[in-house]
């Protein structure tokens, strides 16, 4: 079953612009994670934010978490063509040992 839903499903921007992707989930979480997937490849872990955190940064990535709204956003600043990929959020609930993924956002960055 899907826990997270990303919005938008697809996003096209020019190099240098910022890209924002949103994720909504349904149940209480222990943490929320963002992953990146290049076409036909495995997923790469980008960043993890715990349920008691509100914002986290890693390089050009900024993640926010609003547990009252059960939502998260991923911001990629100063995007590059190499950022073209699909981005997934995933949630880890308190009572399980498994990560449930959302449906993903396909990001296209044009040079």
């Amino acid at each position: 079953s899907q826990q997270g839903e990303e919005d938008p499903q697809a996003l096209s921007i020019q190099e240098g612009e910022n890209a924002t992707m949103n994720c909504s989930y349904k149940t209480s979480i222990n943490n929320l994670q963002w992953y990146r997937q290049n076409s036909g490849r495995g997923l790469v872990h980008l960043i993890l934010i715990r349920s008691n955190e509100r914002e986290k940064h890693s390089g050009r990535l900024r993640v926010t978490l609003d547990t009252s709204k059960k939502s998260s956003s991923l911001l990629i600043t100063a995007s590059r063509a190499a950022d073209t990929a699909s981005y997934f959020c995933a949630t880890d609930s308190w009572n399980t040992d498994k990560l449930i993924f959302g449906t993903g956002t396909r990001l296209q960055v044009f040079p």
Binding site: N31, Y35, G42, F88, D97, F101
Partner: protein, 112 residues
């Protein structure tokens, strides 16, 4: 350093044939291991996970099974493949909650 190996990269199998996909992790002990399937252009569906040797949790009743014969080995199997088993299969591991997953490079399975 830890590495995860998944093979084969691509596989074309006829309907009704058996399947065996293998995943191994090196450089760590007692990892949690996961099998996911991804349909074309879709998100990831958790199929099986294992927190230890011989411990398998199944998420979706289906035509597949999983086994963990060794601490660092996770195998996905089927006795008879269906067309609907086609997809991109991904193995992943982590040590405990609070850490991200490390994924293998995936196996593209096409059942014909």
């Amino acid at each position: 350093s830890q590495t995860i190996h998944q093979w084969p990269a691509t596989l074309v199998q006829p309907v009704g044939s058996p399947l065996s996909l293998e995943c191994t992790v090196e450089g760590t002990s007692n990892p949690n291991l996961y099998w996911y399937r991804q349909a074309a252009g879709r998100g990831l569906q958790l199929l099986f996970y294992s927190v230890g040797i011989g411990q398998i949790s199944s998420e979706v009743p289906q035509n597949l099974s999983a086994s963990r014969p060794q601490d660092q080995q996770f195998i996905l199997s089927s006795k008879k493949l269906l067309l609907s088993d086609s997809g991109f299969y991904l193995c992943a591991w982590n040590l405990d909650r609070g850490h991200g997953y490390t994924f293998g490079s995936g196996t593209r399975l096409t059942v014909v």
